[in-house]
Amino acid sequence: MSAVAPRAMGQPLSRFEGEDKVRGLATYAFEHPVPHPAYLSAVRSTVATGEIIGIDCSQASAQPGVLAVLTHLNAPRLGIDDGELRILQSGDVAFRGQFVGGVIAESSEIARHAAALVRVDYRERPHDVDLESSRERGQLRVPQQTMALFPMDTDKGDVDSALAAAAVQVDSTYRTPWYNHNPLEPHTTIACWTSAGLTLHVSTQHPQGVQTTVATAFRLEPDQIRVFSPHVGGAFGSKGPRHSDLILAVMAAQLVPDRPVRFALTRHQMFSQTGYRSPTMQRVRLGADADGRLTAVAHESIEQTSRLKEFAEHATRATPTMYATPHLQVRQQLAALDLPTPAIMRAPGECVGMFALESAMDELAVAGGLDPVELRIRNEPDTHPLDGLPFSSRSLPACLREGARRFGWESRDPTPRARRHDGWLVGTGVAAATYPTLRLPGSKVTIRVTPDGRHTVLMAAVDIGTGTRTALTQVAADALRVDLAQVELRLGDTAYPPAAPEGGSAGITSWGATICAGADELRRRLAADHGGTVPAEGLEVTVDMPENPHLKQYAMHAFGAQFAEVRVHDETGEIRVPRQLGVYAVGRVVNPKTAHSQLIGGMTMGLSMALHEASILDPRYGHVVNHDLATYHVSSNADVGTVDAYWVEEDDPYVNPMGTKGLGEIGIVGAAAAIANAVHHATGVRIRELPITLDKLLPHE
């Protein structure tokens, strides 16, 4: 693996599709101009669990303009085992809001109206949606499926003895609520069956995954399906795995051959159909000596999944990587409930896990009388605390020090509830951030060069708003050692070679390393077969993502430091965050402009998590009550103050040829903890259950 010299990399280019986006001319899935489209509207279960005992489509079918009504009685039998995707295969209902049918009509108005006229009768069964009491009721199990870097249950040393002997101890339980991704663009599909096959326009993080899933489900060959996804209106993980809206759209289109069927989930439906971040209950126990050196770290998490499919957010995943400790224990347990299936959401694991761990570290700093920046630096490990591997690079102390300098941390008086301005209590907080440098399998690239020196780079990657189109072109130009103007990158189409999903902050690592290998191969072929000159007919190579020989030799992680200032109104409890500042160590930054946007976007989503977001479950009916953007509050412009992101220089020759570590997710990690820690500094009140709302800060008498 040879490093690529940066020429285009490092330039703060504006995103290439900017002009299209500011005019609204970039086409998202639903918007592709298609001839004579039909519209699908979904019918969803109104009970949490039960069985359909009668379904009457006569009224719906009779509506002028209705083309077909889809139910479990006429749906095709699917060739896929995934419980979340196996919709309309029987009359069973596994959660409230599950698809039980759909109406296809000439217009969206007719489809929506007719869907409401489908009458479904159920025999209800009692449902269990109670995570809180799952432990007492013996409902917990250790998850099988993981996204683990480390085993779900990990032990080193003897945590209990070390805790008992520790000079300073923390034992706290933290709770995070159910979160929904809520990308602004709903999950949308256009599906069209013809004799030649199936054409799909899908809002997805993984066109190849859509192709493979639909091929399996509908018993097609993958090459009978073509998936287009040139622009995606945000995703945050919700468009990584396939969800049942895709299956419903393809089923519906099968009923009206040669008609493109448009399907967009409503915002309400987004709360039950597109995955979500499970609530967590996390207990963190820390033990330290009198100097603040950790002697024991224990972290356990309890989460939920559905009965259809197991998904476990690995909330404890970051813990073994963070701090030096001789004794370590992590545990994770899961309850399967009569609810929709959770899924990956921005920084799955680290996001909620680091809220707990970094809140606990702040509690340890307070209990031990140590500065929280110094406490973290003091516990910096020399090698990975669990497996002893050296880090490929690790700059957490540099991030903490640089952040402290920029934020003005030195003059901080640690006393809680000691600063008051115009009726506002003021406080500051810090937390660390981390995210693993992942690489996802499954990428190929085709590179073509013509005698005029133009290079075309083809792969079915996607740009979900992260800036992929721009940054990956910068990588390609440097890999090919040519100017940006000589490179055309085409993505978002399964006619191109397959690409790993956009996710895990691994896009540039997975796709970029593949492009670098393709550029090497192109040079080798040119030299070996053509004397270094491009032949008149041009030259094309296709290569797979190469192995990284350093994977087993080094621990590869990005790090960061989050700082926040909060003001809490002394009388009303109103909470404002006038200032957030993050400093990150993320290897090489390919495009400082789009990278900065990703980092501040993550930090602001962290602010939203800290203060606003929570999906509220109604246990009587098993659904999210606040299933819209008026009552599920995501941060608006007025909620956000100054947000600044910086990075430290980091030269990592081991992660990939570009030296990048990924930065789509680390911005959200620790952001909520920094705010919660600042709230404690401002008010003296430790909030261990998100979101931090004013009712939790006002005195209760």
């Binding site: 504006s14 995103r15 900017g18 299209d20 986006k21 500011v22 005019r23 609204g24 001319l25 970039a26 086409t27 998202y28 639903f30 918007e31 101009p33 009224q59 009779a62 509506q63 002028p64 217009s107 969206s108 108005e109 007719i110 990308p183 602004l184 663009e185 709903p186 622009h231 995606v232 209106g233 945000g234 995703a235 945050f236 967009a264 409503t266 915002r267 115009d422 009726g423 979900i464 708003g465 800036g467 404002r576 789009t594 946007s597 501040i600 976007g601 993550g602 930090m603 602001t604 989503m605 819209d628 953007l629 008026a630 995501v634 608006s636 412009n637 007025a638 956000v640 100054t642 947000v643």
Partner: protein, 195 residues
Amino acid sequence: MPITWSATHDRQGLDIMDTEITLRVDGADHRLTVDTRTTLLDALRERLGNTSPKKGCDHGQCGACTVLLDGRRANSCLALAVAHDGAEIVTAAGLATDGELHPMQRSFIEHDAFQCGYCTPGQIVSAVAMLEEAATGWPSTVTFSPPDGTAGEPDTGPVDLATNPDEIRERMSGNLCRCAAYANMIPAIQEVARS
């Protein structure tokens, strides 16, 4: 303006009414048939093929569908098309003239005030309308009660957005951005407000 009704009846006696209306969209006149249930947003997107305004929530909660409706910003998902026969509509696509981007569009690109781009046309239309509202002297909550806790002065004069980011934050809060480019939108809008 006369309305032409062409009513049909389904078996339950429901009226399915198609109505012909005219809309002037981004400078071009259109005659189109809409269902009486068709929102202005769906008329634009699904009948006229103008997908510059976006559907994020269909409930007036996210602002992605913002257009200028007879000169004022409006959530087009909350308007029924039949109620706006003869209306003049400007979308973000229509803000560019003769192929030249509007200064607000250029500034959004320069400051990277968006990521996925889905809320962006609505943000930009909203920002353009907001400049006009502030220049006309329309107050916001912040005009009376700044978030720094000081007492504001009710004032009917123009509001200077270039020097008052909290006014921009407040006035732009009808447009959600899940990618959270808010912190870049403020300097983008301030730059246009200054010029």
